[in-house]
Amino acid sequence: MSSDVRFTDFKSDKQPTWCPGCGDFGTMNGMMKALAETGNDPDNTFVVAGIGCSGKIGTYMHSYALHGVHGRALPVGTGVKLARPDIEVMVAGGDGDGYSIGAGHFVHAVRRNVDMTYCVMDNRIYGLTKGQASPTSRSDFETSTTPEGTKQPPVNPLALALASGASFIAQSFASDALRHQEIVQEAIEHDGFGFVNVFSPCVTFNDVDTYDYFRDSLVDLDEEGHDPTDYEAAKEVILDGEKEYQGVMYKDENSVPYNEKHGVTEDMSEIPEGAPDDAMDLVREFY
């Protein structure tokens, strides 16, 4: 990879239509910086985006990209990485995309442990449809479709990842630019599925989970002396319902990514101009 790649190379010339102040700006900047910092360039990077405000990210970044169907970004990323292990795959989506309509894929992408990065822009609200409850909304959060709150506990995506056998679980905050970038960078560098839940506040429809709320409540695991390779310690912070954390919660140092486990190492786009040389062997098998 060329060493002179700058993060702005990952920026398209399309102006974002996110609301001024949206957390997604910070989330995206950190992702672009982390990609540049880890030696990638737009021509070897594939960004997959879901549907929702977060899904627009593919348009605002410059790389190979697919803006897909609601909830199915992870399967697309999986296909890209298995077919092309040489390509850096970054999947982005929102909390609705990842933990509601795409929750099934999340569980299986986590356990499959394909070497890619998944940044979920978690604003605990449906923004693009103008303010309905999301799977991470608080149970008493009042919205147009839940006037008395959801009366359901929010999904704990970190715990869901842990229960699914994750090899890398982290959480960051869009506004803490440096830490967010560091954490995403670590997720990219991780050998396996790097999952980062990014607090990405919605300034228009969520007046509870605000920048101020996260600034006041976030506890940085680095400052707490947390050891992410300690599974028990990870479990404790992930299941701690009292505090909001940022940092890498869990990291399996012995993680073996899917491609390596299954010997999927070749660039599948390269094929011969006719049938493979020994293809008649396939026919002879039927004797």
Partner: protein, 586 residues
């Protein structure tokens, strides 16, 4: 036409019916005989009647008929289920020592063989089906030694002792019949030839075609009757640098395959109708992002869970029209097992040349039927790969950059096909989306750009219509007054029905169509015929509707939706009957 023999083994699901049948089919094939197999089965792993049927002849056979000559019956139900097909010359092999009292019609030859006891003598009761095969060899005058090779193939991995025991079991069955029955009067004496044949089913042909075509990435979710495509590829595609991944559902499977295709790999998924329902969610994205993808639909009886292990061709409209909005797709429906191979290769070429999803529509009957072919029917030297407008060197890429150096992945072109750059191609980075987009792949709601993109996508169909052959296959008498048209797996039964029709003095021309969209225009052929009948395995006549629309006329229809494929003799009768009916009102 040489005399053919119809043989079957039936029992409970879990009795090893399938593998026993396959061993006999392979032995016949090794003896230079043609084989056409079919299966009656229920979806349960154990419990429920199941049968494996073989039609064999020294000539090519491509259909089942309503006749059964030799039946190995492990249960009474096997006999009961097949009474209509059995005749006075039939022989039924059964085990009289078993607890059930076989009720066999007097006019048939009952061959009571202590299958279990003889198997135990050879080394284990589990080999009782093999004893039955030995007995069948004696009755049909087929040398038991032909079984040896297929027993080695089947049991070789389990050690030579097992193989030897099985060979012994077969001989015990053969000898028992020889010593206790005079079966010569039945008159069966299976001729052998020096010909080499391969024996495979439609799903295996699709899988083999996929590898030959350069498919390297397959994502799927198990579903009857498509799973065996995935099972075929697993363990083989890796030898060519590919991979099969089992997704968590069909929603995921098609999206993984889409990802593989966007990454530049020839990618595929296969499912059945119920899975296509789920995949339809992503279908529009595949089509509008102009991604080359092959989606195989091995149809089974619907709607909903329907009859999962039964035959039907009811998904045609879904393949043609599934999904919201308007976007072109190609629909290809191979008409025979060897064509499953060739049409799969063609599907991959069409997908990449026109950057469009291609539905490869097969069906249950073709997926479970094994048929013999000379190996040259799958001549790999004949395989051609056309990757379309894939741009990979700098000059090619430069040609398609806009003034700001951005790659125009959805460039509006005369033929509707845009250049395609895959990840890793320098300066080819671009976005694709399910949103309506401009040439760069970025969202637009501009009226002009919208119309340009819709027209461009539709133009690909016009280009393909001009550039590709869209040929159909033809049988019978080209100048006959009566025309019979069919699609998909009915071809074999129809081709053989011609023999019966000829005996009855009925002259017909048969057209078998492998392309549903785009498809050949048959207006002239329909107009030239006095009568036209469309044959298909569904209740409403989905293909007949299309042909009526094309030719602006009304056609007669033969529809079967019992869950069982057409049989040659039955079809001949129905055609004769249909020809005598009034033409439907215009």
């Amino acid at each position: 036409m040489a005399e053919d023999l119809n043989w079957a083994i039936g029992g409970e699901a879990g009795d090893g019916i399938d593998s026993t049948g396959k061993i006999f089919a392979q032995a016949l094939s090794r003896a230079g005989r043609h084989v056409f197999t079919s299966k009656d089965f229920a979806s349960r792993i154990r419990g429920g009647y199941t049968a494996y049927k073989i039609r064999t002849s020294v000539d090519q056979v491509q259909s089942v008929v309503d006749r059964l000559d030799i039946l190995v019956a492990l249960t009474q139900r096997t006999i009961d289920e097949n009474l209509d097909e059995l005749h006075e010359g039939s022989a039924i092999i059964y085990d009289g020592e078993r607890s059930w009292e076989a009720e066999i019609p007097d006019e048939m030859t009952a061959v009571d063989v202590p299958l279990k006891s003889l198997a135990e003598e050879a080394g284990g009761a589990i080999m009782r089906n093999i004893v039955a095969l030995g007995a069948a060899c004696e009755i049909t005058g087929f040398d038991v030694e032909y079984l040896d090779e297929s027993l080695e193939k089947r049991f070789g991995g389990k050690g030579s002792k097992i193989v030897e025991n099985n060979k012994e079991a077969a001989r015990k069955g053969q000898e028992y019949v020889q010593e206790n029955y005079d079966v010569d009067h039945l008159g069966y004496n299976l001729e052998t030839t020096d010909n080499d044949y391969v024996l495979l089913n439609g799903n295996e042909a699709i899988g083999m075609g996929a590898i030959a075509a350069g498919c390297r990435f397959y994502a799927g979710y198990p579903i009857t009757p498509a799973t065996s495509i995935m099972e075929y590829l697993t363990g083989r595609i890796e030898d060519y640098g590919g991979h099969v991944v089992q997704a968590e559902d069909e929603l995921s499977a098609i999206n993984m395959a889409l990802g593989g295709a966007r990454a530049g790999a020839r990618s595929m998924t296969a499912t059945s109708g119920a899975g296509v329902d789920l995949m339809t969610e992503t279908f529009g994205l595949v089509a509008t992002s102009e991604t080359p993808l092959v989606i195989a639909d091995v149809q089974r009886s619907g709607p909903s869970t329907g009859m999962p292990t039964k035959q039907e061709q009811g998904d045609l409209n879904m393949a043609l029209y599934g999904g919201h909005g308007e976007v072109p797709r190609f629909v290809v429906a191979p008409t025979s097992i060897d064509e499953c191979f060739w049409k799969t290769i063609e599907a991959f070429n069409l997908a990449e040349k026109y950057q469009t999803p291609v539905f490869l529509v097969s069906d249950l009957a073709m997926s479970v039927t094994e048929q013999t072919f000379p190996p040259e029917a799958f001549d790999m030297d004949e395989v051609e790969i056309d990757r379309g407008k894939l741009v990979d060197d700098d000059d090619e890429v430069d040609e398609w950059l806009d003034e700001q150096g951005r790659f125009r992945a959805h460039a509006v072109t005369d033929d509707g096909v845009s250049p395609r750059a895959i990840p890793g191609t320098t300066d080819g980075a671009h976005m694709s989306t399910g949103l309506e987009h401009d040439e760069l792949g970025r969202r637009t709601e501009d009226e002009d750009e919208r119309v340009q993109q819709v027209d461009k996508r539709n133009r690909k169909v016009e280009t393909a219509k001009e550039q590709e052959g869209w040929e159909y296959r033809e049988f019978g008498n080209e100048d006959a007054d009566n025309l019979v048209i069919t699609w998909g797996s009915n071809e074999g039964a129809l081709a053989e029905a011609l023999d019966y029709l000829e005996e009855d003095g009925v002259d017909v021309r048969v057209i078998s169509v492998p392309y549903i969209f785009p498809r050949p225009d048959l207006t002239d052929e329909i107009e030239a015929a006095e009568e036209t009948i469309v044959v298909e395995c569904n209740a409403t006549g989905q293909f007949a509707d299309l042909l009526e629309h094309d030719a602006l006329t009304r056609l007669k229809r033969i529809n079967k939706y019992t869950g069982v494929r057409f049989k040659a003799d039955e079809l001949a009768e129905q055609i004769t009957q249909k020809l005598s009916e009034e033409v439907p009102a215009q």
